[in-house]
Amino acid sequence: MACSVLLSGAVSGGPEDIPPPKGVYSEDTLCVEPVEVMRRQHFDYILDHRDRTVVEGIRTKQYSLIGCIDCHITPNAQGEYARYSQDTHFCASCHLFTAVNIDCFQCHADRPEEAIRKAQEPDVKAQQSVPELHETLQFSTITFDR
């Protein structure tokens, strides 16, 4: 329900500002499960997969968080990748709207590896003022427009 409000473009940092996913999971499906299922249950899949991966070393790609990030976090027109601390980040856009506070990205990469390696280059690093993760994760970054 909340997501359908989001997808109607009621939020700044709404879908029009979020770079589209690659949508290339397989030849016949864009995402790893139908979109309605993913909206409601993505965390169940991720939670189940995390135990299999950490404990058993199962490294399938279908429900891997790295896979989600690689597909969904794509560069914008300026070639920049959003961080989780920004409302144009695919995950953050909905979590902010629904006031869900998750801690996945306190440890996990919020962008694909190429974006992170790039951010570590000294000249890039010097230029950016990186917002503190929790400092910016506030509901106030959202403006409603309906």
Binding site: Y25, S26, V32, Q41, D44, Y45, L47, D48, H49, R50, D51, R52, V54, V55, E56, G57, I58, R59, T60, K61, Q62, Y63, I66, I69, D70, Q106, C107, H108, A109, P112, E113, I116, A119, Q120, V130, E132, L133, H134
Partner: protein, 258 residues
Amino acid sequence: MSTEPVMRYTLDITEDISVERRNFTQGIAALAGLTLAPGVFLYCAAEAKPDDQAVSSQQRWGMLVNTNNCQEDCDACVSACNEENGLWSLGRPATDAQWIRKLNVKDRQTGHVTSMPMMCQHCEHPPCVDVCPTGASFRRVDGIVLVNKHTCIGCRYCMMACPYKARSFIHEPLQDQLPHSPRGKGCVESCTLCVHKVDRGDNNTACAEACAKEGHQALLFGDLNDPESEISKRLEQFGGTQIRADLGLNTGVRYQGI
């Protein structure tokens, strides 16, 4: 400790294996065709396990350190580990994470300096696992000792229990962690024996690769359970010392020349 994953939800998660298999075979094809120079191909002998297969106790991964080859002034293994696992410094060396460090030990009688890297020894009977109140510190069935950061509460008992001072605690928020190396504030961490590389069939660790690249060949990674592996053959022929063998931990990292 049971290695069964904790199932909190009764979801029917049947992964699309055909896609996995295809990705897997494509990966192998890419490996097999890796061109080093025109006409020279690298054929990778190591078999990667299929992605959907759990690790097994048929393997026990370990490392052999030949201290006679280790150079006093070299820290290529340490830099490689930091680079591989995204251990960027926060500018506070006292609390920066160290997964591997270099030790130089001088014999006062002879003046001989023995140089060696020290990291988690991937004990068969790990004290860090014994003391962990949540089961977060665990030994994977293939011998790799890890921290499950999802259940680590940051109590640091394991750090006190480890005889090798192998573990680090993360004191402050981190950013820009690498995808294969999640790590963050409030959790303990240590050498993972490059578990992400092991699982994709690299059959090597970042430190051992870097050491070989320097031409020192002091680090050898391999399967201690496979009698045909290079590490097993060398251990059988020349032996390998456990540091603090008196503790009876049966370490997976063995040393020669100490």
